[in-house]
């Protein structure tokens, strides 16, 4: 989508082939991402549709056979920030200063959730895992989705999110600690005691 991106000249047939074979196979992941960002099926649908229309419009900036999935995720993420987030007027609640200072602090390794155990996690057969993910602020939720649900590498995440790799790492670290805190609350409510193994 950058203006300086080298343009490829594709015939309509080639464009349609790229669209069908490289873009469309990711539609389930794209819809899941849209839904996890907005928590609304119609909004998720609009975001996905908008993403695919943009991808087709700028298809000549896409090099056939390269990382279509990362590019599509980037477009969707930007549509979400520019269109959806503005519309909903929900400011980002993440204080990055706080994130960075947390990451650099000495107590980053303290056991935040000593009571959380593998056994209690495996007993969570309802929506606990999904709800814990959904409870995170959107920027923390996003890095977990990209890394753990979709398997993107840090370098790809940095490109999708327009942030340095160091920030990807620190944001993931903080997001996972928050997720564990949430899961720990669920574990307690399920009757697991604070027992050290």
């Amino acid at each position: 989508m950058e203006e300086e991106a080298p343009k490829n000249s594709y015939t309509t047939q080639e464009k349609n082939d790229i669209f069908n074979n490289e873009f469309l196979p990711h539609i389930t992941s794209m819809y899941n991402f849209g839904y996890r960002l907005t928590f609304d099926q119609d909004d998720a649908k609009d975001l996905v549709q908008d993403t695919y229309l943009k991808a087709y419009r700028f298809i000549e900036s896409f090099q056939k056979g390269t990382n279509a999935k990362a590019w599509l995720f980037r477009i969707l993420k930007n549509s979400f920030i520019n269109d959806y987030r503005k519309k909903s007027k929900e400011p980002s609640k993440v204080d990055y200063q706080e994130v960075e200072s947390y990451y650099n602090s000495e107590d980053v390794d303290r056991q935040i959730t000593p009571d959380l155990r593998v056994e209690s996690l495996k007993d969570m057969i309802g929506d606990e895992i999904s709800n814990a993910l959904n409870s995170l602020d959107v920027d923390f939720r996003t890095v977990i989705i990209l890394c753990d649900l979709e398997g993107f590498k840090y370098e790809e995440m940095a490109k999708i999110l327009d942030i340095p790799i160091g920030t990807v790492r620190s944001r993931l670290h903080r997001a996972r600690n928050l997720l564990k805190e949430k899961l720990s609350e669920y574990a307690k409510s399920m009757g697991y005691k604070n027992t050290e193994s």
């Binding site: 309509t12 899941n32 996905v48 980053v108 649900l149 840090y154 670290h173 564990k180």
Partner: protein
Amino acid sequence: MTNSVNPFILADGKKPSCMEMLQLILDGEATAVQQEYFRTHMDKCAPCFKSYDLDNTIKELLKTRCCGESVPAGLVEQIRNQISQNQSF
């Protein structure tokens, strides 16, 4: 027989925490040398040993429990129709 320099140490000389090392391992971002170092490290660090299983389980559960949304029927058709309409202008 002492371990060589910690291969996780960053360019600025900062020593990474256990959780930082573990994150790189579980995310598949560690080099072969880092993986070998961490394997030895886990033998001497019970919290890392415990966290390895816990964090790995969370990662797996996220993958299996949070990817279930199915694409609404007709969405692909809608997108195709929109594209062909745009093309005809």
